[in-house]
Amino acid sequence: MSTEARAGHFPAVDWEGGAFPYRVGHRKLGMWLFIVSDSLTFSALLIGYSYLRASNVWPTPFPFYPSIVFSSVMTFCLLSSSLTMVFGVSASSKGDKAKARKWILATIFFGVAFIVLHLIEWNHLIHEGLRPFYLPEHWVQAFTTTDGVPPSPLFGATFFAITGLHMFHVATGAVYLLVVAARVNKLKHEDIEISGLYWHFVDLVWMFVFPLIYIMSVDVGHHAGL
């Protein structure tokens, strides 16, 4: 049989692409593309932060309590919220909308807990004197090198910008999930799955913010220069 003769049925049957080349709806594909672009936003911010850090004397001021304890509990909250979200999507796929709503509300609870803990943690640092373009005076003294080079005041700018943008994502995610929970019976399963995608993405970003911002800035006593 010639290729032309088979052309009538070839594309849809063998490729199985047809109208759904990715086998996902256009909304879900849209959310994936948004997630890719937002990943690049956070990548650019984190690489910019690393750039500044590598080219400056950088303070490593975070004590075990409150900074590391708070950020670890916050990480636990976000990881658990991802688990409850995936339970919600799983329940929704079985058609159990009431159960899906309960799990989504649990997800919102963990998300709000994250924001509250993060604001308390911000408050500690602001009280200590950290500002976007100033370091607390005792940090400057502690982290000035033996050559007399003071630490970069941009620590606050990178810290507040990156954690602030992430917190904004958590907050919008909580509002988004609240709308989904309220309308759960009217929404299709795929719409609930899409809201889950966004929420897991917020969790995923924190998996990079937490080690790069918090773990890499732990005060371990010996103050290295660059």
Partner: protein, 120 residues
């Protein structure tokens, strides 16, 4: 049966699987916190932490975001372009070492300029 025109409703993966993924994520986080207090060179620390983060991100994307169970065409559309774009963002990075060299030149000649100059 119009399988090719049907959007998959089934959500693969049991709750047991998701709990074990969550357990792995928590365990890897605890390792990160432990490493924070292990004295080691900053470059090694960065590599280990980023390695752990990439594993955690892959677990979240594959299982929680369900990408492992999606079509290969979707995975190939999303993942490689993201990796390439992030690699391209690093193009500027070597300049940070250069600017550090410019800014702190006196490090090579330590006794030249102590910062607080006091007039007697």
């Amino acid at each position: 049966m119009t399988a090719h025109a049907h959007v998959e409703e089934h959500f693969a993966g049991s709750n047991k699987l998701f709990i074990s993924i969550w357990g792995w994520l928590v365990a890897l986080t605890l390792i990160e916190i432990f490493l924070a207090y292990k004295p080691m060179p900053i470059h090694l620390m960065l590599i280990v932490l980023l390695g752990l983060s990439i594993i955690k991100a892959a677990l979240i994307v594959a299982y929680f975001m369900h990408l492992k169970f999606e079509r290969l065409s979707l995975i190939l559309t999303i993942v490689p372009m993201l990796v390439v774009c992030i690699m391209l963002l690093f193009v500027f990075f070597p300049d940070s070492f250069r600017s550090a060299g410019l800014r702190y030149k006196f490090k090579e000649n330590p006794p030249v300029a102590p910062a607080p100059v006091e007039e007697p």
